[in-house]
Symmetry: C2
Subunit: 484 residues, 2 copies
């Protein structure tokens, strides 16, 4: 159908921008930033032009998918995306773009000086734009629904709140116990250096062994690890290196390889169509968290890999595997989300979700954010961050207008546990995982998650794969078994 051809052309443009954006993060000479932004802007204008063109609309309307279920799903999703995109007037998009450029600078400045009022007026503007967008998109429950839909389609704020509320007491208990237990655990590895070249070889070996395809991907170095898809057979991971702790780069790779194997598992021939695309952030994050935490922090995994690490890094010779696992499972109440461990991470998300929801509903004013943050933080963590830089100013998301995004991190954690538990019900998969052979697990994910692309809503995908919609049981059981 012509609309599918147009969608493939759009993917050509967007993936070209991904190539150029990837290079910007990895190898761009410092003086080249400004022109690079112009190159990206040109491509994104072309993408926007195409996806909002009259021809696109006409092809969407004229399309007749027949009885093929995949064609129907693709057309349904393309129509849904177009409807959502076409509700925003061009001037609103332009205003948002200007506001986020300014806000990002103000936020960086505010965080550096730990001075929330520098950021506040920008946040006010972005909140106003987010409210406008929510109103234009429409919602049944509350404004937050309309934003969340953009990241996790088919769910609702109320549903997320119910999940989070149900988890909160158990999460707090597990976190407190984990932090307490951690006091007696090694806080660091034996002294480095763990040479970067050796880390890179180890990471590549492990990534390959869990199923990341280096014929269709690579690993490079950036300050902030990410995964980017540059084409149907071109998935790029990045990580960062710490010579004092080889697990830092490795867990970066395991996390990003989880994202990357999802991308590599999508039907390549449908690249650019919904059936060849990832469905949501909450499903994407389930894949990264599954490989990072359920596989990468398991005893079985290290029974295979720790002896190899000891050959590579002689300083581990006298550091027993149990001490190493204790090191991996250490937990502490940190004020900063990106430094948080598995045991405490979701408390950070619950805090942000609560504040964002109140902001959108008008129950909290921007000026009151620092106080509200500190109050919630004290409630959840038992202490107050020493300043706003490590409190309400720590995340870049709000400065980018990314309201409604945070909950997908915890949805990803919930989904990861539920998928891992469901896969392990197959005895062959469980046995293989216990021997650190993950090929059967990856096959299961390929078939039950990746192969569907974005043809099912996330909750339906979860139900299809695991027999139930996203629920907290498996995740809490996992945390409790690891930390209690």
């Amino acid at each position: 159908m012509p609309i599918f051809e147009k969608a493939r052309e759009l993917a050509l443009i967007r993936s070209s921008a991904e190539v150029i954006g990837w290079d910007q993060e990895t190898y761009l000479p410092p003086a080249a930033q400004e022109y690079r932004a112009a190159q990206l802007a040109w491509l994104s204008s072309r993408a926007h032009e195409l996806a909002t063109s009259d021809a696109w609309k006409a092809d969407l309307e004229a399309a007749n998918p027949g009885s093929d279920p995949k064609n129907n799903a693709n057309l349904r999703e393309l129509r849904r995306e177009f409807k959502r995109a076409s509700k925003l007037p061009v001037d609103l998009i332009a205003r948002e773009s200007t506001a986020t450029s300014l806000a990002k600078h103000a936020w960086a400045d505010a965080r550096q000086r730990s001075n929330f009022p520098i950021f506040a007026p920008h946040f006010e503007t972005l909140l106003g734009i987010a409210r406008e967008k929510a109103a234009l998109w429409g919602y049944t429950g509350e404004p937050y629904d309309a934003l969340l839909e953009g990241y996790e389609r088919g769910t609702s704020t109320a549903a997320v709140a119910a999940l989070f509320d149900a988890m909160k007491p158990a999460l707090r208990e597990t976190a407190a116990n984990a932090v307490e237990k951690s006091a007696s655990r090694p806080a660091s590895l034996p002294p480095g250096p763990y040479p970067i070249k050796a880390q890179q070889r180890l990471n590549a070996q492990i990534a390959e062994s869990i199923g990341f395809d280096f014929q269709a991907g690579r690993i490079d170095t950036t300050t902030h690890p990410f995964c980017s898809t540059l084409g149907p057979h071109d998935v790029r991971l990045t990580t960062r290196y710490d010579e004092a702790d080889f697990t830092s780069s490795l867990f970066g790779v395991l996390h990003e390889a989880g994202h990357g194997m999802y991308e590599q598992g999508l039907p390549a021939s449908d690249f650019g169509l919904p059936s060849g695309s990832a469905v949501s952030l909450g499903i994407h994050e389930s894949q990264s968290r599954l490989w990072e935490n359920h596989v990468g922090r398991s005893r079985a995994f290290w029974q295979r890999w720790y002896p190899i690490c000891r050959e590579i890094f002689p300083q581990l010779a006298d550091f027993p595997i149990d001490a190493f696992l204790d090191f991996l499972w250490r937990a502490e109440f940190s004020p900063v989300r990106v430094e948080a461990d598995e045991a405490t991470y979701d408390l950070h998300i619950i805090l942000r979700f609560g504040l964002e929801r109140r902001l959108l509903n008008g129950d909290l004013s921007v000026a009151d954010v620092p106080a509200a943050w500190n109050e919630s933080f004290r409630d959840l963590f038992g202490f107050t961050p020493k300043n706003d830089a490590v409190g309400c100013l720590q995340d870049i998301h709000w400065s980018m207008g990314g309201l409604g995004y945070f909950p997908t991190y915890t949805l990803g954690n919930i989904n990861s546990a539920q998928l891992f538990a469901a896969a392990r019900k197959d005895l062959a998969i469980a046995t293989a995982c216990d021997a650190a052979d993950y090929a059967p697990l990856l096959s299961w994910l390929r078939k039950n998650v990746h192969a569907h692309g974005a043809t099912l809503d996330p909750a339906d995908l979860m139900e299809h794969a695991t027999g139930k919609v996203p629920a907290t049981g498996d995740y809490l059981a996992h945390l409790q078994s690891r930390y209690l």
Copy 2:
């Protein structure tokens, strides 16, 4: 003027394609080739569409540059390019594109099997297309003029032939003497390994010291060294490494840095306009050859750098600088152009130029190319290549339809010597060069070559910079002083 804005937009598209093409050569995963070709095709279609659009034509026609000389030069060159491009019908471009795709495969196959008849029908097709193009573009002397104009505007086949004919006896004499002298020179360095990491550090240090700006560029690794401009402050060099010979990667860097410093020296604010673009291949090659041969193979250069190399590579401790220079100046009659040294290189070009000219004029048939090649080769080098793989099938250029391109290599050599000699007439530059300080030389090139972009024809640029149009005197004097 609107046409200048359009030219800048065209540069955005083309430089985006350069980014994507650079990544293809450096970091692309093997399985991603096919989609990458589609991304590049999309961008080059957009570039073609824009540069041949009615709007482009109308803006070109309507433009009124006023009295500003730069505006006038830019408009003149944009009109010239458009006129040339618009003479080729779309179907001819499509036929050429198909023919070169097929020819490249056939050529690779033919070369591998040393079987010219496999390539011959493809070459016949491409020669026919080249003749068609020449006829459409038009010429005053002979068809070759029209092709050469695309690489070296403002010159003529007759002028090139006159230069080459004038050089030939002296070149043959120098080459023969150099090869004879070489018999007594070291054919290799002390045994390696010369570790790649150490080579990379040395190359970067040297590139920086001669003036390559790493804030606006970088060096990566590829099988075939090249230089690519990804934006006005983004020039990427590549080289390849041989652990047995550190000079291999270094001279790759010196050559490509010569190209790169030219690109970095073009007026960045005019990126995309003729005044911000390199003027011709013969001028581009003059820059690479100047830094590679006149600077990089000079005694003064190594008086500074050889002691540093000895610190980095201890195996050089007992290898005197004179032996090292003899190694750099070794010469031999090789059948293969890309392996040829400075003393013998131009003979390879004279051979190709002669054959191409006869092919275009219809004085030589494709079927007779192997015999004609061998005859010319014997005449110039005194022996016959052992087979066509290292004879008439060695170069990729013909399989890409690149007839008319080869002479620019020798024009580059001629220009490099003439520019270097002219710059050294300034005593301060000569004194600095003799102390291996190249900042004054680079300033001179910036001012006399780079700053002009493509506003002057190559011969005018040479005359402007050196006081005379391209002539062989300085180049022959250089070769004779080095090799006789």
